[in-house]
Amino acid sequence: MIYLPWFIWISPIVGALLTPAFAVISPKLRNWAAVGFSLIAAVAATVTSLTVAAGDYQVPWIPSVSSPTKSAITAGVLVDPLSMFMANIVAWVSFLIMVYSVEYMKEDSGLTRYWFFMNLFIGNMLLLILADNLLMMLFGWEGVGLCSYALIGYWYKDEKEHWVGTPGDTALGLPQAYSPSQAGMKAFIFTRIGDIALMIAIFLIYAYAGTFNYLELATKVAGSSGWAAGLARLGLLVPTALLFFGGPIGKSAQFPLQEWLPDAMAGPTSVSALIHAATMVKAGVFLTGRMGPIFYTALVQFQQVFPFFATIAWIGAFTAFLAATQATVAREIKKVLAYSTVSQIGYMMLGLGIAGLGANFALGYTAGLFHLMSHAIFKASLFLAAGWVIHAAESRFMDEMGGLAKGMRLTAAAMLLAGLSLMGIPPLSGFWTKDAVLSASFEANQYLLYGLGIATVLLTGFYTMRMLGMTFSGKPSAHLAELEHEGSHVHEARFTMLLPYLLLAVGSLIIGIAFPLIDPPLTNYLEGTFSVLRIAIPSGAPPESGTLSITLVAISVAVALAGAALGYIRYFNKEHHQITKPGGLQGFLWNRWYVNAIYYKIFVNGSMRVANGLYQYVEKGVWDPLNYVIARNVVEYSKASRQLDERVVDQAVNDVSTEGSRLSNIMKRFQTGVTQQYVISFAIGVLLLLAYMIFVIGAS
């Protein structure tokens, strides 16, 4: 049984590697085999969580680095409640999205590459979840980033229809529409910036702890000889924790590194659903959850818990608000969902941050992770449904849709259910989990954070209804009328596409209805993570996620309904006009608060300008001329002694050279006198050697 946990992440990777082989046999086999491997992973995850005891299943990897202060590096799979919780969500949602992909992507030509990277992604995502140490985790972490890059840029030929953003749109004079290959690169670089911070933190931790293993890090954290004390002595403990959090900020698209995710929508919608909504962007939340308790133990010894966890909570709450405002003016349906994802992840981060600020660590911790689960389900459903909507309407712009519900009842129903979950309307799962985060912040006396969260609820209600209204209700747009005229009727999706998002939407409803029942055991289960790490985490009050205070619930439901009502009044049953770039506050939101443009001005244009300046003024201005001066002098000198060159060397070479030898020809080519240089400089070497032999060896 000890290999079963390994099986979870290895099987999709094997699937990826076999994709080209299956492709040779038949495209159909290739497609369904890819789905099959993702199913194996999902089954393995479930079986493991039911049958395998919590523990660290290790094999040797890099034993050579071990020394008295450093442990040998092993590879291992850590089976514990947190990893199993995540692995099951990821593997099953992935499987459904893979099923959807078969039909959704069928007309595309580069499918071997698609399936390869999809399975590689699933494998790496599971690896990052299951890894028992930071080094191995980085493999998964960078691996998912790589697959994300490759799949955002899937349509690498950059045809216009695959761009994201309104063509010709600019902010501060910089273009705001991105081609797939550009969006992929942008995503990679943005997350890389977070990764750099993460790597610095890992280097610092290892320099003091001598291990990457989570369990060892947890046992070695405390005491005066622990790694936390080592870092704290130099005042590096809080900075290290914050730098570590940089990785999750980048990966989970939190402020200030949130700008890559909206443009990542240039990839196929199935990719957006899998990577940029349901799974990869949660990796940051997961990692914060993985190391959060360990950092808590580290920081609590030195009374430094507050700055770290307050930063997480504030970044989360602020991002939730920021992205929600941008979602209210977006023109593309996928961008609404992307902003919404950023915003919802903000809630999760808020939960994890609140964990360290309240009296009961487990309260915020489980709330954040529960919201991760419910978001993975409803957002995957929304994206997959949106994929069909875009396909059917032949446009990614919501103002070119409208009235679609008539042609696709089930899709509209799925989107409505999932949308209600997103808004936080009872009894859907999103209601319970988002409220757990909000009430945890209220109970931790973080009223400002709570206020930001509530404001976001209002916005969420509004933008979700706006999206549903513009897409499904009212009269069809001119674009749709034209399509109709050309004879293509809007219709329902095929079964294999419909089923995944319908299941997910219904799942969100069922989990919501059952939530009061499953909440206590699941909370207990997740709290088991702390005992696997063998660290003491305060759980003063009993977990309260189940017993929500009625007032808090009433407030958030009322606010959500208010937002929804606003959206309904403004966008349901309306004529659709093309959205043009708005001015004023809306324009500010449309331009993403100008953050994206400012980043480009400063970092992209700025570093190019610095590099260009260095090239012009230092490389071409200083070093090259210097080199030239030296070269000229050498050549001049050579010319002066060219006679010698011709008389002695060429003569000698000619005498020596035989018929076949072409060496003399080469020599002759260097009429500038290189030969001369060559002989003289060699002579110096030989003379020095001779002197050495005579004076040193000879003398002894």
Partner: protein, 505 residues
């Protein structure tokens, strides 16, 4: 002891020089296949020597021959040299294959010139292997120069642009560097009375105070100058972009991945082994210098339009990484740096072959702005370029990840131990500098391979097998070592332990 195995890696190529030269006239471009076959001999010998070395208690396989009165002419494959030798012999072999179509394109219909190219080529390979195998300082210097001569002629004969001037500057800089190194070697030999590296090392470690430290410092400075010119550290780098960009591409693919890093190897083998304390004294300064090189090389790469010049500046930056790890003076840092030699060797080997493939298939086009959309036209080349750039930017499952990870980890261990703000800040800045590498790597990939095709690339086709096979071989090595680095890393960690000094961590 002397079983003629390693001496064969020197003698076989040496004997091949006239053979290839004569064969060239009749075999023409096919001489390259013969050259490839002959270069499999050193590769096989080195793998065999590595196997023999693992059986040995000290992890080394040594052949020594009397070389009176200078000392011993020794050839040693040990934990430090085996990874380097493996990289060099693998690269020289596969690039001989790549030379076949490339030099056919470059030389064309002049049958007598093929022989000259391949005989110089194999001599160049011999020089590099000999340098790394050397156990004697004088022997080392001799091979160090032998490595220079054929490469100089190769650039001067088949280079691009102002090739005479460029090769002259290449020769001038590296030769001046070598002469300064020679002064350091001779002073060392004078002070210790011997030239065999092992004996010199024992002499200095058992008589630590016999030579005033200022003299030792001077010697270290001289030797490091010689090696850092080879490694093109900032300020000593100006010969490199021209030479690597304008050399015939197969030679660029040896200069940059295999040759310049030997400066780093020699720094460990000679300077850090014989004078560890003095190197340690200078290491904080070297670390800062290396950081400047990393950043400067990366910034220069960012603004290049010529693929080969971009790769050349990237090499400057990567050599900065190597010196940075060495300057941490920690076991993990030194092991990481020497592993970086291997990673950079395979990755830059891939990338220069890719550049060559593009030059071959897109009518000699080198300007990135005129390229685009090649991914669908040249899928194997594009995939290889992808792997190569990922290794350069240090992404997991490429060997570049491990080498960069460990060399940076080493610098953080040094920072933690010394507890100085300076060490901490340069360690942090060095990791930040990797963003530049990611920037130029991905941007270059995008401009060459993605987007719509251009006028130049519309008709391009995949390169022949003599180009793709070397790419595939190097990619396999890159990824294998990226998943399981132990065969290289375990040797290098043991090798780093041999470097002793007051400060080694």
């Amino acid at each position: 002891m002397a079983s003629l195995l390693l001496v064969g890696t020197i003698v076989a190529p040496l004997v091949s020089v006239p053979i290839l030269y004569t064969l060239g006239r009749s075999l023409r471009e096919k001489t390259g296949y013969a050259c490839f076959a002959l270069l499999l001999i050193p590769l096989a010998s080195i793998l065999l020597a590595a196997a023999l070395a693992s059986g040995d208690a000290s992890g080394s396989y040594l052949e020594s021959y009397s070389w009176a009165p200078i000392g011993t002419f020794g050839l040693r494959a040990d934990n430090l040299s085996i990874p380097v030798l493996f990289t060099i012999s693998l690269l020289t072999a596969v690039i001989a294959l790549f030379s076949v179509p490339y030099m056919q394109h470059k030389i064309g219909d002049e049958p007598e010139r093929y022989g000259l190219y391949y005989s110089l080529y194999i001599l160049y390979a011999l020089g590099m292997v000999g340098t790394v195998l050397s156990t004697n300082l004088i022997q080392f210097y001799a091979f160090f120069e032998i490595m220079l001569i054929p490469s100089f002629f190769l650039i001067a004969e088949w280079g691009y642009g102002e090739r005479e001037k460029i090769s002259l500057m290449y020769f001038f800089w590296t030769h001046v560097g070598a002469l300064v190194l020679l002064v350091g070697i001779l002073v060392t030999a004078y002070l210790s009375g011997v030239t065999d590296m092992d004996v010199v090392r024992v002499f200095f470690s058992s008589n630590p105070n016999v030579v005033p430290s200022i003299v030792r410092l001077g010697v270290v400075a001289a030797m490091c100058f010689g090696f850092f010119v080879k490694m093109a550290q900032f300020g000593l780098h100006i010969w490199l972009p021209n030479a690597h960009a304008e050399a015939p591409t197969p030679i660029s693919a040896l200069l940059s991945p295999a040759m310049i890093g030997i400066g780093g190897y020699a720094t460990v083998r000679i300077v850090m082994t014989i004078y560890p304390d003095m190197f340690f004294a200078l290491s904080a300064f070297f670390a800062g210098w290396a950081l400047v090189t990393m950043i400067y090389g990366g910034a220069m790469a960012l603004v290049q339009d010529d693929i080969k010049r971009l790769l050349a500046y990237s090499s400057v930056s990567q050599m900065g990484y190597i010196l940075f790890g060495l300057a941490s003076f920690t076991q993990i840092g030194i092991a990481g740096s020497m592993f970086q030699y291997v990673s950079h060797g395979t990755a830059k080997g891939i990338l220069f072959i890719v550049a060559g493939a593009i030059i071959l298939q897109v009518n000699g086009e080198r300007s990135i702005s005129k390229l685009g959309g090649l991914a669908s036209k040249m899928p194997v080349t594009a995939t290889a370029a992808f792997v190569g750039f990922l290794a350069i930017l240090g992404l997991p499952t490429t060997n570049g990840f491990f080498s960069e990870f460990f060399l940076f980890q080493g610098s953080f261990i040094r920072a933690a131990d010394s507890a100085t703000l300076y060490r901490l800040i340069i360690a942090i800045l060095s990791v930040i500098a990797t963003a530049l590498t990611a920037g130029y790597s991905l941007w270059t990939l995008r401009r060459i391979f993605f987007g719509p095709t251009t006028e130049a690339t519309a008709q391009a086709k995949e390169a022949p097998w003599t180009v793709t096979l070397p790419l595939i071989v190097l990619c396999v090595v890159t990824i294998f070592l990226g998943i399981y680095p132990e065969p290289i890393l375990s040797r290098l960690v043991s090798a780093a332990k041999v470097v002793q000094g007051i400060g080694l961590l």
